[in-house]
Structures are given as structure tokens and as C-alpha cells.
């Protein structure tokens, strides 16, 4: 990843009828970056991708590509290629013809095209599939062909619209590694749209969390996970305890009537805030050793850990722990200061919406 801004979206707005899908969006994408647009359905992530691809024109704003305004450029004149949600393979053509489509239009030589087909099929591990028809392939294979068809055109940017959405879990996980490998081999920019936070965390250099047409947070996977800027991001990225609290002073927060030391500063005194505590960051200790005390109300075995609900100070704390505490037992709750993430209360109604479908 370099620091060159390859694509710059400036003040992009888009509505369908009365529905605002994107509102004054600003975002830049760097060269050779794996950037993921993450959010629930209807957040505007796909529309953003389609505006970059040229399938939608923004109502307002500009799309700058390598310093040039391409807002009005039709898709066939853009140096980007797309891998569509349901693959969108041409079912009346063989695999080879599908892959050759873009190259034939660019009037490349036959030898060049054949080389490219071979190379692309090898890259996606489907050598020898040249003469098969798309509908004789499995979903995962069709997905690979869709990728091969896009990358033979040597795009500067590959747009991927929930490409793994239709695949089953195991295949999806395999394809995640494949995509990372591909990205590294090709050395191009990937813009990836998904509603799956795990996919986003695994593959991305940068994650853009979106909701209701607004960007909620931009950051590395670690940033997004460990330091969500608001309750929406915290809730969307993994399980967490989001608790209304009061910032007593710098480095001290009052959660449900009990003061907890924390590491955040600059929120002011006696300011209402939200705190996020990840369930795996809560230590269950003997009642007398805990900052607060509670009772275990439910217990589930989740494989690598136990998932427990602990009722304490009138709030049901979600806890992940490798130690088992039977239901009904009294426990103490302890949280390290740097595991308490303080967030400003959302200011607008829009930001507050934490309705998540997934």
C-alpha cells in the first residue's frame, strides 16, 4: 500500500426517490489498498461501489480517478473491473469466451488472449476449464471465473460486490485466503463490499463502516475492533457490552453507579458517554475481588469459550471466558482500564440508529 490517492470520492450524494442513500460522502482509496465497505444492507455500500464502477451516477459530487474527474465516464471507459454479487457470467459463452470478453473488445491478439486465459485460470486454480459452460460449474467455481474474467483486463482497481455472499461457510473462508493471495500477487487495489464483519476483519487493510448513507468510521481492522467511535460500530463489529455511563473526570468513568479507572482523557467532567467493553475483556473473579458483583444467569458452551450472562448493577453483562462458572453462582467483574473504550454519545438521530439486520 502506498500513500497515493488513487480514487477520491468528493461530496457524493445519491437518492432514489425520497430515499437518501448517500449523503455528502467523502472517501479516498489509496493505491494497492484492500479497502472494505462494511455495513448492514441499505447502508449505501453497494451504491458507493456502483458509483465507482460507473453503473450509477451520483446526484452530486465528483469521482476523481488518478486526478481526473470520471464522474460522467461510462463503465466501459473506466480502468476498473467489477466482480458482481451473483457472478453475472455470460451463460451463452464458454469459460474461455467469458474470460476473453474484455480482451477481444480491446482487440488483443489471439496468442495474447490465449496466454491470458491460461494465466487467469491458473491464478484461480481452475486450469482446464476453458471449454466448460458457466452453468456446469459450482457457485465457488463460478465466483473464481468471475474474478478471472475481471483481472485479465489488468484493472487498476478490482471492485467486489459481496462476492462470497452466496457461498457456504467453509468455501467462504477458503476464498478469503484466496482473495488475499490474489491481491498480493496482482498488486492492485481491491474495493470490497460486505455486510460480514468477520470477512472485513480478516482481509482488509482499511475498513469503512457505513450506516444509513454515512461513514461511521474509517480505520484498520484493529482500530475498528478495539476503538469503535460509536455504539453502531461497536455493535456491528462483534458482540459487545455497550453501556451508558458518565465520564467523572479524565481516566475515571462511572458505569452503573460504580467508578472504573480507564485510560481515556479529554471528554470533560460529568459528561454522559457510552462505554464499550468486549465480552472477552471481562475477567470473572471471586466476588470480593471484583469491581462490581453479580450472578451468572445463563451459560452456553461455544467451543473455544463459554458465553455467560452476568447480572450486575441492573445490567446483563455478556462475558466470554474459558473458565466455567455455573448458573446461579456469585462472581466479581473486573475490567482492565485499557479495555474500557469510551465513546461520545451520538449527536444526531441518524447516528444513533443501531438497528442491525444481520
Amino acid at each position: 500500500m502506498t500513500n497515493n490517492k488513487l480514487i477520491n470520492l468528493m461530496n457524493i450524494s445519491k437518492s432514489y426517490g425520497d430515499t437518501v442513500v448517500l449523503d455528502e460522502m467523502n472517501l479516498y482509496i489509496r493505491e494497492n489498498e484492500f479497502l472494505t465497505l462494511l455495513g448492514p444492507s441499505g447502508c449505501g455500500k453497494t451504491t458507493t461501489l456502483r458509483i465507482i464502477g460507473g453503473f450509477e451516477t451520483p446526484d452530486k459530487g465528483q469521482v476523481i480517478f488518478e486526478g481526473k474527474d470520471i464522474t460522467k465516464l461510462p463503465p466501459n471507459e473506466r480502468q476498473v473491473n467489477t466482480v458482481f454479487q451473483k457472478y453475472a457470467l455470460f451463460n451463452h459463452m464458454t469459460i474461455a469466451e467469458n474470460i476473453a470478453f474484455g480482451l477481444k473488445i480491446k482487440k488483443k491478439s489471439k496468442a495474447y488472449i490465449n496466454d491470458k486465459i491460461k494465466y487467469a485460470l491458473k491464478l484461480v486454480n481452475l486450469e482446464g476449464f476453458e471449454n466448460r459452460m458457466p452453468d456446469s460449474l459450482s457457485g465457488g467455481q463460478q465466483q473464481r471465473i468471475a474474478i478471472a474474467r475481471a483481472i485479465v483486463n489488468e484493472p487498476k482497481v478490482l471492485l467486489l460486490d459481496e462476492p462470497l455472499g452466496a457461498l457456504d461457510l467453509k468455501l467462504r473462508q477458503d476464498m478469503q485466503y484466496e482473495l488475499i493471495r490474489l491481491k498480493n500477487e496482482l498488486g492492485i487495489t481491491f474495493i470490497y463490499v460486505t455486510h460480514d464483519q468477520e470477512e472485513a476483519l480478516t482481509m482488509s487493510d482499511t475498513i469503512v463502516v457505513m450506516n444509513q448513507g454515512y461513514i461511521q468510521q474509517i480505520g484498520t481492522p484493529e482500530d475498528i475492533y478495539n476503538e469503535p467511535t460509536n455504539a453502531f460500530v461497536a455493535d456491528f463489529i462483534g458482540d459487545s457490552n455497550i453501556i451508558p455511563a458518565t465520564m467523572v473526570e479524565d481516566r475515571l468513568v462511572n458505569i452503573l453507579g460504580t467508578n472504573f479507572p480507564c485510560v481515556d482523557t479529554g471528554f470533560g467532567r460529568n459528561k454522559p458517554v457510552d462505554v464499550v467493553i468486549r465480552p472477552e475483556d471481562i475477567d470473572l473473579v471471586k466476588p470480593e475481588e471484583g469491581t462490581i458483583q453479580g450472578v451468572v444467569t445463563s451459560l452456553l458452551f461455544k467451543g473455544v469459550h463459554y458465553e455467560m450472562d452476568v447480572m450486575a448493577n441492573g445490567y446483563e453483562w455478556l462475558v466470554h471466558s474459558t473458565d466455567l462458572v455455573p448458573v446461579g453462582n456469585a462472581v466479581g467483574i473486573k475490567v482492565d482500564p485499557f479495555d474500557i473504550q469510551i465513546m461520545n454519545k451520538p449527536e444526531s438521530e441518524d447516528e444513533e440508529a443501531v438497528i442491525i439486520e444481520e
Binding site: 458482481f84 453475472a88 451463452h92 464458454t94
Partner: protein, 295 residues
Amino acid sequence: MKDVTQVNKPAKRLNGEAGHHSLKIKKTTWLSMPYLLWMAGFIILPLILIVYYGITTEDGAATIKNLLLISDPINRRALLLALELSLISTIICLLLAYPLALILNKIKMKSNSFIVMIIILPMWMNFLLRTIAWQNILERTGVLNKLLSFLGIGPLNIINTPGAIILGMVYNFLPFMVLPIYNVLIKIDRDIINAARDLGANSMQTFIKIILPLSLPGIISGITMVFVPALTTFVISTILGGSKIVLIGNVIEQQFRLGNRNEGSGLSLVLMIFILISMAIVSKYDKESEGSSIW
């Protein structure tokens, strides 16, 4: 012993399930009995009879005389004219219908059913009457000629010409060309077209390489749905062609009106052969174009 029975139990259960399954298939198969009988009596038997009468004399002796009737100059001319007019009509229908279907697909009015409705609606007026209305429009003192003379163009002789018959065919069968093409077009995923554009195809290339080949099944069924009724019509030629223009349909109808069952069947057989040949040609083209020949 005890163990054995316990092992056997699930096996028995399995058998029971299998038995139930075949029972279920049997249960639905009897539902087709009325239809099977109906088909045997009113689809298969009639076709056998037409072949039988076509290759026998009135006394039941085998002959190919009835089939050879087609070589009679009048009959041959009727068949060739019918082929010519129906071919022209089919081509005109295709040329008119394809752009229409494309535009309708683009407009995508409130609902698909609305578009289908306005195309089908005329069919709710009796087709004989609609064809008779064309008499009104086309005849020497008709609406069209009044309009033309108003514009200073002399009265045209359209009624009772092959042109009038072509117009009647195009009019009557155009919806049968529009609907199958439209139905195929609306099913083409928007992203398939986007993908072609994304890969560098301009709108013309997208049309030729993607939309046209993908809509071919619709074109094929449109062609058969127009060509077959146009080739075999006797109504349109009777109403718009006067008594001078005779198509193969008129010849066959006349044979049966005169009670010449065997001759009529013989000519029908020949007609069926022509229908089969044309359908074979069309479907062969369909298969070829599915491959790579479009490129």
C-alpha cells in the same frame, strides 16, 4: 437375538419409508390418467387419422395421389404464395417487435403485467372482426384512403392485394412476437449487461454480444408463433385478399368443404411437413448460435 432385532428395526423403518415414497409417486401418477386418455383420443389418434386418410383413397387403398396434389399448379402456387407471405410477415413482425420489446423493457412501467396487458388487450376483440375492420381502413373508400386523399395522395389499391394479407398477418400475430421477446429481455439480469459494460463493451457491442444472443430463445419462439399460423391461415386471406388470392390454407379448407376428406388430409400432411421442416431449421439455428458462432 435381542441385538439382531434391534438392528433390524431401523432397517425395517427404512423399507417402510421407501415403500411410502413409491406409494406417493403412484398416488400422483393416476392423476394423469384422464389426460393420458384424452391425449390418446384427441391428439394422437387425430394425427394418425390424418396420416391414414392422407395416404389412402376413399376405398381405403394406399396411394400417394393425395400428397402429389401439391404439384398441381394451383395448389403449388397457393403453397409458395403462403410461404412467401408468411415469411415476409414473420420478418416484418420481428423487425417491429424487437425494438418495441427493447423499449418496453427499458420503460418498465409500473408493472410488467401492465405492458403485457396493453399488448394482449386487442386480442379480446374477436380477431375476425378486427381483421374485418382492416377492410374498412384499407378499402378504396376507406379511412386510410380518405386520409391519403386529404393529404393529396391518390387513393391506393391496398385491399385484395398480397400486401393487405401481409398487413393482416402482421397485425394479428405481432403480439405473439413481442411477448416472448419481451419476456426473455426482462429476465436478463441487469448485472449481466453491467458486466459487459464493465469489461469494456460499448452499448452496441453489449447488444450484439450479450443481449441479442441471450434473447435468441424469445426470438425463436416468436418466429414459430408467427410463422406457423401465418403459413396456414385461410381467414386473413379470405377477408383481406378477396377471392383472387388463394393460400394453401384456403385450398385445404375448400377440399374439406367439398367433402374431399382424403385430398384435404393429403395436403394437410404436406403442410405439416413444411411446418416441421421450418421448425427444424429454426431450432437448428438456435443450437448453433448457443455455441461460439456469434463471435
